[in-house]
C-alpha cells in the first residue's frame, strides 16, 4: 500500500487506494464517467501489489468476473456509475444469493438513463436497496469526503468478508471528483477482516450451513471442498432445492444476517443534536452543505442538529425513531433526488414528528443558504410536510 502520510488526493483515487489497503487484488471494470479514475488508478498501482486488473467488455462481465475472482479467494471490486450499476443488478443478486464477498462502487451521476454523466445526483439510493429482484439484505456505505472514500472502502471490504455479501460504496460525482486532504495511516493501524474458513473436513463440510452469526464459513475454489454454488434456491449443501421450505430457510437467513447484525454494521454521525428540536438528515456530498447550514441556522437562533448516515443500509432507524419520540419536532431530509431516503425517515418519525424534504433533481448540490431558508420556512409553518 501507499506510504503512510498526508496526501492531497482526489476522491476516486482515495477509493482505489482504500481498496488496495484493504487487500483488494482483483478489479474488473468498464470505463464510465464519473468513476473511471478508480479504474485508472488501479491499473497504475496493481503491477506493484501483484493485483489483477481486467477491463471487461461491459458491466455485466465486470461484476460476473468479480464474483468469480472472489470464489478464487481474491478480494475483488468493481466501480461504475448509474447506467453500469443498472447492468450489474442481476449479478448483484447472484452475489447476495451465493454469499460472495466483494465490493461494488457506484459513483452516482444524474439519471434516469444517460442523464447527466458529469454531474452529481443521489438518485440510485433505493436502487442499491431494491434494484435486484427478490428479497435481500444489503449493506451500503455513503462517503462524504475523499478521506471517507479511503476509510469506508476499507470498511466495505471488511463487512463484505465478515458477512459474505457484495457491499456497495455509494459515492457521488462531487465526493469522487473532489480533491482534499487524505491521511493514509500506517498498515499496522488498519484493521483487515478476512472471510471465515471452514474448520471441518471436505467430507463433512456443509458450505451453506451458517454459524451463530448466520454467516457460513467459506471454502474457496481449489481448496478441495468441491463447493457447488448456484443462484437457484439451495440447501445447506449448496445443492439446488427448488421448494418452499428451502426458500423459507435460505432467504430469511440472508436478510437476517444483516438485520440481526445491524448494530455491528451500522455507522452514523451526529452534529449539534444534543439540544436540537430540528434535525437535518443528509448523506454523501449533501452532508457537507448541511453541516454548514446547521451552523448558520444556529447563528440565527434555530436549534438545529444533523444526523448523517454513513451506512444508508442498514439505516439508523432506531436512533431516528428515538429522536422523533423524545426530542426532535421537525426532520428535514436533504437529498439530490425527488425523495428516496425521506421515505425511510418518514416511517421512523411518523409517530411523533413531522418530516420535510429538500429535494434537488441533480446537476448541483444544495446550498447551505437554501437549507437555512427551509428551516426558517418549517419554523414558520410555511411549507407542507412531506407526504407520499
Amino acid at each position: 500500500m501507499m506510504e503512510p502520510g498526508t496526501y492531497f488526493m482526489e476522491g476516486n483515487t482515495a477509493c482505489a487506494e482504500g481498496a488496495i489497503a484493504a487487500g483488494c487484488r482483483f478489479f474488473a471494470g468498464y470505463p464510465i464517467t464519473p468513476a473511471s479514475e478508480i479504474l485508472e488508478r488501479i491499473t497504475e498501482r496493481f503491477p506493484e501489489v501483484h493485483g489483477s486488473f481486467l477491463q471487461m467488455e461491459d458491466e455485466l462481465a465486470s461484476i460476473a468476473s468479480v464474483l468469480g475472482a472472489s470464489w478464487a479467494g481474491k478480494k475483488a471490486m468493481t466501480a461504475t456509475s448509474g447506467p453500469g450499476f443498472s447492468l450489474m443488478m442481476e449479478n448483484y443478486g447472484l452475489g447476495l444469493m451465493t454469499e460472495t464477498p466483494c465490493v461494488i462502487v457506484n459513483v452516482m451521476r444524474g439519471g434516469p438513463s444517460t442523464g447527466l454523466p458529469t454531474m452529481v445526483a443521489q438518485g440510485d439510493v433505493n436502487q442499491t436497496r431494491w434494484g435486484t429482484h427478490g428479497d435481500v439484505g444489503v449493506v451500503v456505505y455513503a462517503p462524504s469526503s475523499p478521506q471517507e472514500l479511503f476509510d469506508l472502502t476499507i470498511d466495505a471490504f471488511n463487512t463484505a468478508e465478515k458477512y459474505r455479501l457484495p457491499v456497495i460504496v455509494l459515492s457521488d460525482e462531487i465526493v469522487s471528483h473532489m480533491t482534499e486532504k487524505v491521511e493514509v495511516p500506517p498498515e499496522s493501524e488498519i484493521d483487515i477482516v478476512d472471510r471465515k474458513k471452514p474448520e471441518d473436513s471436505p467430507e463433512d463440510h456443509l458450505p451453506f450451513c451458517p454459524d451463530e452469526d448466520l454467516v457460513p464459513p467459506m471454502a474457496n475454489a481449489g481448496e478441495g471442498y468441491s463447493v457447488h454454488v448456484t443462484g437457484l434456491t439451495h440447501d445447506e449443501k449448496g445443492h439446488p432445492s427448488v421448494d418452499e421450505s428451502t426458500q423459507n430457510q435460505l432467504v430469511p437467513r440472508l436478510i437476517d444476517k444483516i438485520r440481526k447484525n445491524a448494530d455491528d454494521i451500522l455507522d452514523y454521525e451526529e452534529y449539534r443534536l444534543e439540544d436540537a428540536d430540528k434535525a437535518i438528515i443528509a448523506y454523501g456530498s449533501v452532508y457537507r452543505a448541511a453541516i454548514e447550514a446547521v451552523d448558520m441556522a444556529r447563528e440565527k437562533g434555530y436549534k438545529v442538529g444533523l444526523l448523517r448516515p454513513k451506512t444508508i443500509w442498514p439505516f439508523p432507524e432506531e436512533r431516528i425513531y428515538d429522536l422523533a419520540s423524545k426530542q426532535i419536532d421537525d426532520f428535514l431530509v436533504a437529498e439530490i433526488n425527488f425523495g428516496q431516503i425521506v421515505y425511510e425517515v418518514e416511517r421512523c418519525t411518523a409517530h411523533g414528528a413531522q418530516t420535510y424534504l429538500a429535494p434537488r433533481m441533480g446537476g448541483n448540490i444544495h446550498t447551505p443558504e437554501e437549507l437555512v431558508e427551509r428551516i426558517e420556512a418549517i419554523d414558520k409553518g410555511m411549507i407542507p410536510a412531506f407526504k407520499e
Binding site: 467488455e57 478464487a72 475454489a221 457447488h228
Partner: protein, 304 residues
Amino acid sequence: MSIRKSRDWFSPDYMDEKSKKKSAYGMHPLDEYLRKDRIPHIWCPGCGLGIILNSYLRALKNSHISPEETAVISGIGCSGRAAGYVDVDSFHVTHGRAIPFATGLKIGNRDLVTTVFSGDGDLFAIGGNHFIHAARRNVDFNVICINNFNYGMTGGQAGPTTPKDAETSTTPMGGFEQPFNLPGVAAGAGAVYVARWTAYHVEQLIDSFEEALNKKGFCFIEVLSPCPTGYGRKVGLKTGKETMKHYKENSEIKNGADPSEVALDPEDPDTNIIVGKFVDREAPTYQDERGEVFEKARKKMEVE
C-alpha cells in the same frame, strides 16, 4: 440380476454407504467426479447431455486431472445443470455470464483447470458478447457448447443456432433468421483451439476434450446434441436414437477445414454436418501477456 436386487442397488441406504467411502470404488467408473447424491439428473430420455458430460469427465480422468484441481462453470438452461452434477468446485451462475465468471475465477487462481459447460442460447445469444471477448483475450480456459438448436428448458423456442426454416415454439410458421456458424465465430474471435463434434462421436469427443484440457489458451468445442423433447420432434427427429442415427449418417469428418466454411446448411439441416478439429494453434495467453507487461513495469519502478 433380478429387478428387486437392481432396485436395492440404487436404494438411498446403499448410496449413503458408498458415498462415505468416497472414490474407493463405486457403481460407475466416474464416480469420483460425480455428486452421486444429485443423480438421477433432470435431463430427458434421448438427450445428449449425459453422453457429453460423461465424455468430458472421461477426458479429465484420462488426463489425470483430479476433481480438486477442476472447476466447472455453467450458465442457465439444461446444459447449465451440468455444474450441479460434477463433484468439483462448480458454479451455476446467471444466464449468459458463465464466461466472465470463469474469467475472474481463472485469473484469480491460475491453477484451476477451468471449463465452461453451457448451451448455445446461454453462450451465443445472451452471452455472445462475453464469448467473443474471452476468445479475443485468449484467457486460459475451455468452453464446451452443447448445441441442441433451441432453448430446451423453457419449451423449445428458437435461438441463435436454430436452422433457418425450423419450426419451434417461437417460429411456428418456420424461422427466417440466419443462424450462427459457431466454429466460424470462435475462430474469427481468436480461439486457439476450435472443434465440432456430435453426441454420436464419443471417441473423438473424449480426445478433443483431452486436447483442450491440456492446451493453454481459449479452447472451444461445439457438440451437437439431440433434444427430442424441445426440438427434434418438431423437425422430424422424434427420438434421441433417430437423431444419433442422423448424426452418424450425415456427419463428415474434415479435420483442418476452414471454420468459416463449416456452417450447418441453413436451407437443409439434414445434410452436411462437417465435424472435426478446425483450429489448433499456439498464441500467448492473457495471463502470459499481462505477466510480461507487469514484470517490465515492476522492473522500471525498481530502477526509478
